[in-house]
């Protein structure tokens, strides 16, 4: 095989792989174009007749490419990945804990969920309970929408900070905010999933 190998080990993060700045707004068509271009070069199908080392490298690099594309394509996973890169992702102690401003509503919701489970077990009337839970679910769905909007807004602030070469303090502040929003989002999402499951 005279041609030089295209599968070489690589340094750098997902943003480097796609040759884009470490910003949160990504043009999807640019991302897709680059993904397809790299797939042509790296996919294991292109290395079936190559030596074992090249096959292994192609497997490693094409899986990394696919992982990167999966993460960068998803706006929430993208934020999470950025924070991890910057060493600012902390799920920690707040994961199972309700955000303070939601405490009361979450408490009520959990009570209704318990009642529903009891009612299911004793086969008593579920209709009124169900409608209460349905409205609670709708309420939290709306909250999820709010969090997403806030995430978007903060992501824009991050991109602006990068463009303006803002100070480390400013950047850190934005990342702390992004981290809070991610935790809040995953908490509400779990809640919504649980309610939906009980209702189905």
């Amino acid at each position: 095989m005279g041609a030089p190998s295209t599968a070489k080990p690589r340094q750098g993060d997902y943003f480097d792989l796609f040759e884009i700045p470490r910003k949160l707004w990504i043009e999807m068509s640019v991302l897709e174009k680059k993904f397809l271009e790299l797939s042509w070069k790296l996919h294991p199908d292109k290395f079936v007749n190559a030596c074992a080392e090249e096959q292994e490298l192609s497997l490693q690099r094409s899986s990394e490419l696919n992982d990167a594309y999966r993460v960068l394509r998803d706006p929430v996973a993208r934020v999470e990945y950025l924070l991890e890169l910057e060493g600012r992702r902390k799920e920690g102690e707040h994961k199972q804990q309700a955000p303070p401003e939601l405490l009361e509503e979450v408490f009520e919701l959990n009570e209704s969920l318990d009642e529903l489970r009891d009612a299911k077990a004793s086969r008593s009337d579920l209709a009124s309970l169900k409608s209460r839970l349905e409205s609670a679910e709708k309420n939290f769905q709306e909250k999820l929408g709010e969090v997403d909007a806030q995430l978007q807004e903060t992501a824009r602030r991050w991109d602006a900070a990068i463009d303006a070469s803002a100070s480390d303090t400013d950047r850190t502040g934005i990342m702390v905010r992004l981290n809070e929003l991610l935790n809040r989002r995953s908490y509400i999402r779990n809640l919504v999933t649980n309610v939906a499951k009980e209702l189905s």
């Binding site: 797939s39 292109k46 079936v48 497997l59 899986s63 990394e64 696919n66 992982d67 999966r70």
Partner: protein
């Protein structure tokens, strides 16, 4: 160089296909019977030889205890998984089976990959006879919704058959490849693949780039235990009940009579795809004849629940691809069961689009496999397949919950890294349980593998082991570990929960080669014997001519002794010895042949000799 082929290893039928060197288009290779379909039926002859395909299918009626069909349903499954199947299929499972099922054929036991390997070897032989060259590598198709264990079992079957499996390709993806080539289309495509035993739906995006065409699978879904077989089972149960009511005749669902009835009902099912009504006349023991009129409407009402079961996966696949039914530009139907008018109508109504049926639904998957085999064989090409993993990969966490590390419909190869450490001082191992499936609890998911990560003794929390889970381009899991403190890399031997170990595969491969060599030796012996008989007869005839009197005494004695030696070797089965003795007789009769050159009998002898040169 050995040839590369595409193989569709189906539940009901299997096919082998290649690229026609003249036309450049894929084509299926016909078997000895002239048909491109090789029934996926295997029978163990009382003499110990393996019979595959149409002759084996005939034995379903005469020797049901030595014959098996639909073995694909057992691939990669454990004993506990198949209890429902056992009620419907005449599988005779070894009660001593542990993780890997063993099926009894006559007096012997075989694993499902071994039985599948017999089918693969038969197709390989068929292709070799067609090419007049050996076949070494193959692309083998699997249902898109096959899990890791089922894929691994299919790959193992290839190995046992002596084939290098270049790639496992998902059946609907292969079908799209065959159609894409055929139709030159772009956009979103839905492939609805309803086969003998499995159902798949895949949503693809066909993209043109400067380098060539990309077939990107966006999502896939399905049911690996839903197929045409289920329609047959339903019909059979229905008729069984009627026979019991009307004639008080009850027979075991595994009996020869049941197989006979099943065969008749499959014929009725096929008839109902063409005409509005069909009549079953089935002779019962004792002389009575059971008669049942089937109308298409009633038949459709009977099978509608099965057809409806395919629509859940269709909706889920569309949702996962973030598309609406109206955004699908092309719909492709694959699998023999899609000849059923009810299925065609249901799919057409749902997508509001006339589905493609131009290619033979039985052949389209094999044709696509041949296209992919050709792409891989040549290494360079203007076509690329990007497929996905059908099921999420997860790791068991505290309390039996599952943490998803690679979500379903991720483009493969895909990977995930997880960091592990110890909980107590000097802990030497960390147990890891890998699962596949969408449910939240480990007990509801499919167990892929359990293994213990070895850790050098250290204070709790100090070791840092990074485990990499990687799903390769075949959809099969690989696990690697790295000690991030020492940088030491390790590959982990993962023993699949329902798989066969490498040593067992080795053994089966050796056995299967023995089978093959035995077969080869036997064929050679038969040919050599036939040849010996021809030359012995010709020699006898030549010795009877007047010219034979001119032979010297030594010449005559040499002929007589070589004739005796050849006759003796023919009674044995050593083909090499027979060939040697044939050559010796040829030499000994050289003078005799010359003497009778001008006589009529010389033609046979001389012709023989010329052919031998």
């Amino acid at each position: 160089m050995a040839r590369t082929v595409g193989i569709d290893l189906g539940t009901t039928n299997s096919l082998v296909a290649c690229i026609d060197p003249q036309t450049g288009a894929p084509r299926c290779i016909p078997g000895p019977s002239g048909s491109t379909l090789c029934p996926s039926v295997v029978s163990l002859d009382p003499d110990g030889s393996i019979i595959v395909g149409e002759p084996a299918r005939r034995r379903l009626l005469t020797q049901p205890g030595r014959t098996i069909y639909s073995v694909k349903r057992l691939m990669g499954r454990g004993v506990a998984d198949i209890q429902d199947e056992l009620k419907l299929f005449p599988f005779r499972i070894d009660p001593a089976s542990k993780n890997v099922i063993r099926v009894r054929l006559g007096d012997k036991f075989f694993t499902p990959p071994e039985i599948s390997s017999f089918i693969l070897r038969d197709l390989k032989n068929c292709a070799e006879a067609y090419f007049g060259e050996s076949v070494g590598r193959a692309v083998v198709t699997v249902p898109a919704y096959f899990n890791d264990a089922q894929r691994q079992a299919t790959k193992d079957a290839g190995k046992i058959a002596g084939l290098e499996v270049l790639r496992l390709v998902n059946e609907p993806t292969a079908a799209a490849l065959a159609y894409g080539l055929h139709e030159k289309r772009r956009g979103h495509v839905a492939v609805y693949d309803f086969g003998g035993g499995t159902f798949d739906i895949s949503i693809l995006k066909l993209i043109s780039t400067t380098e060539g065409d990309i077939y990107q699978v966006l999502s896939t879904n399905g049911d690996t235990h839903l197929g045409g077989d289920d329609i047959d089972n339903l019909l059979q149960a229905f008729v069984h009940e009627k026979i019991l009511q009307q004639h008080r005749v009850d027979f075991s669902p595994h009996s020869e009579l049941a197989q006979e009835l099943r065969k008749e009902l499959i014929a009725i099912k096929h008839q109902l795809s063409e005409s509005a009504a069909a009549t079953l006349r089935f002779p019962l023991p004792g002389g009575a004849i059971f008669v049942q009129e089937f109308e298409r409407g009633a038949f459709e009402a009977l099978i509608r629940p099965i057809v409806d079961r395919t629509m859940g996966p269709v909706r889920q696949a569309l949702a996962d691809a973030k598309l609406k039914a109206s955004e699908i530009e092309e719909v492709v139907l694959v699998g023999g069961a899609t000849r059923t008018p009810l299925i065609r109508r249901t799919v057409q109504e749902y997508f509001d689009r006339r589905p493609h049926t131009e290619l033979n639904p039985d052949e389209v998957v094999a044709l696509g496999a041949a296209v992919q085999a050709n792409i891989l064989d040549r290494g360079v090409s203007n076509m690329l397949l990007l497929d996905v993993t059908p099921l999420s990969l997860g790791i068991e966490t505290y309390g039996g919950a599952v943490a998803k590390v690679i979500p379903r419909n991720s483009t493969i190869p895909a990977s995930a890294q997880e960091m592990y450490t110890t909980g107590v001082d000097n802990q030497t191992g960390i147990d890891i349980h890998v699962l596949q499936g969408e449910r939240e609890l480990a007990r509801d998911c499919r167990s892929l593998a359990r293994f213990t990560l070895k850790v050098p003794p250290a204070p709790a929390g100090l070791p840092r082991i990074e485990v990499k889970f990687l799903i390769d381009a075949n959809g099969i899991l690989q696990v690697g570990a790295k000690d991030t403190r020492t940088g030491e890399q390790r590959t982990i031997e993962v023993q699949p929960s329902y798989g066969i170990s490498d040593t067992e595969i080795e053994r089966m491969l050796e056995e299967s080669i023995e089978y093959a060599e035995q077969d080869f030796a036997e064929r050679q012996a038969i040919e050599a014997r036939t040849e010996a008989e021809t030359i012995l007869a010709a020699t006898q005839k030549a010795l009877g001519t007047p010219q034979a009197a001119s032979l010297t005494a030594e010449e005559r004695a040499a002929i007589d002794s070589t004739v005796a030696a050849l006759k003796e070797s023919v009674s044995g089965s050593d083909y090499k010895l027979i060939r040697k003795r044939i050559d010796e007789l040829n030499n000994a009769t050289m003078q005799l042949a010359e003497l009778v050159m001008n006589s009529a009998v010389s033609t046979a002898l001389q012709g023989r000799k010329l052919a031998e040169v």
